[in-house]
């Protein structure tokens, strides 16, 4: 199927599913099947978003949140990927680090937030580090699995052709683990936005998570749903940009897809 037709098909299906959902929501509200005050209709939520944008707070909240989420995600990813390669490629490091990491992995990131606040104060650092903490583990597990299950033939042929372990690491081990790392990163994107919301509940004065909680306290469910939708769209946008970037930087990933 030509690429353009494929793209039109994809956009049509996505637009249709979102359109149907909005129409259904509007209809249920219009006919009084769902309480207008508890769950306002899309038109009211849209008006709240416009109002939020007009007073300039939407962009401020958006940039504050995306900055926190991305910095946390980047820090968590770097740590998770590095540890993943260590435990995935070194038997000794696996024996030393995995028991500790397995315990840490079981800690609910939400429960770690007070510890980060104690350590880094109520500002941005505690939010960023709580996001980083939550994103380390999906990347550690995926990098570990990806790098420890590389077909032995890849390593054997690489070692016959190159004597440099650094060359083998960068040109064989990293790319051969890439599919697994990408999957881990996508999970971490979603987790980083969940943690963003949780971290902005405590001691924040701006951000999408803050807007959701403050609107809820003010009984502005239209604004709360609007902020929730913006948060969801932001997370989808990051995921979309990441996917585009992957297609551009690693074109071979696309070729390995079954669908």
């Amino acid at each position: 199927m030509p690429k353009q037709i494929k793209n039109i098909k994809r956009i049509t299906y996505s637009g249709l599913s979102i359109g149907i959902l909005i129409l259904l929501w509007q209809g249920l509200s219009y006919f009084g099947i769902i309480d207008y005050n508890l769950i306002p209709p899309p038109t009211k939520v849209f008006s709240a978003i416009v109002e939020w944008a007009k007073n300039g707070e939407l962009f401020q909240d958006f940039f504050t949140s995306i900055w926190r989420a991305l910095i946390g995600l980047i820090i968590g990813s770097i740590i998770g990927i590095l540890i993943g390669f260590l435990t995935g490629r070194s038997e000794k490091m696996n024996l030393i680090l995995t028991p500790v990491l397995n315990v840490l992995k079981a800690f609910p990131p939400v429960a770690m937030l007070p510890i980060f606040i104690t350590l880094f104060g109520i500002g941005d650092f505690s939010k960023i580090f709580s996001i980083a903490f939550a994103t380390i583990f999906p990347l550690w597990v995926n990098t570990h699995i990806g790098s420890s299950t590389i077909p032995v033939e890849f390593i054997r042929s690489a070692r016959l052709m190159s004597k440099s372990e650094l060359n083998i690491f960068f040109k064989v081990i990293i790319p051969a683990s890439m599919n697994s790392i990408i999957a881990g990163f996508r999970i971490s994107i979603a987790i980083s936005f969940i943690m963003l919301y949780v971290s902005e509940l405590a001691g924040a004065s701006s951000g999408l998570g803050y807007q959701i909680s403050s609107s809820q306290l003010a009984y502005r469910t239209d604004m709360m749903l609007g902020a929730l939708i913006v948060l969801g769209l932001t997370a989808s946008m990051v995921d979309f940009i990441f996917n585009r970037l992957i297609k551009y930087v690693f074109p071979w990933v696309q070729l390995n897809k079954v669908m």
């Binding site: 042929s157 190159s162 040109k171 070729l255």
Partner: protein, 236 residues
Amino acid sequence: MSEFSILVKNISVSYDDNLRVLEYVNFDVRNGEFIAIVGKSGAGKTTLLNTLAGFIKFKGEINVEGNIGFCFQNHSLFYWMTVAENIGFGLKKNGSEKRVIINDVLKKIGLLDLANKYPKELSGGQMQRVALGRAIAYNPNVLLLDEPFSSLDIYTRDQMMDWVLKLISEMNITVVMVTHYLDEALVLADRIFVLKEKKILREIKVPFAKPRSQAIRFTEQFQKSKQELSSLINQQ
């Protein structure tokens, strides 16, 4: 340089204390010679090849002169690299010198126009040709082939055999190939080792002059040799 590319003395391989796969195997391979190793599944053919490449631990002595090129049964091309990048992986040269060698190999394997394709975009036969190209690109003295055509259909396999015959006649390279197909062994090899019960049961000199073509497969002598090999492998 010695007369022999490979010298193997009394090698034994065990996967653990109880499972011995090879026992006191001895042989030598002259420079430029083509050896085929045949035998039933589980006879230790691939283990012997892996031992020669230094992939697994062994007892005994192995001397391999110069570099080794290895071509795996399932090609094992790096799927994140293009055809040209795969071929250039083992080259120590840089820049234009590297490009010249890559282009030379691409011409040899007849895939110059597919240089920028990824392995997933190639057919089985093309992938196997790239794998062979990658194995010979850095000019190894010894080429080890582990059932290189086993995943191909019968027509592609015949084409590949012709291509290997041509390639080998152009290069002075020592080859050790593991195969299940007796036709392949008889068409390509100078000597055939029949592996059985952890040892080389018999060594057979192929009675056809080189350069060869696949036409020898239809001669009476070929059928006789094939029969002899087959009964050696299957005898109790």
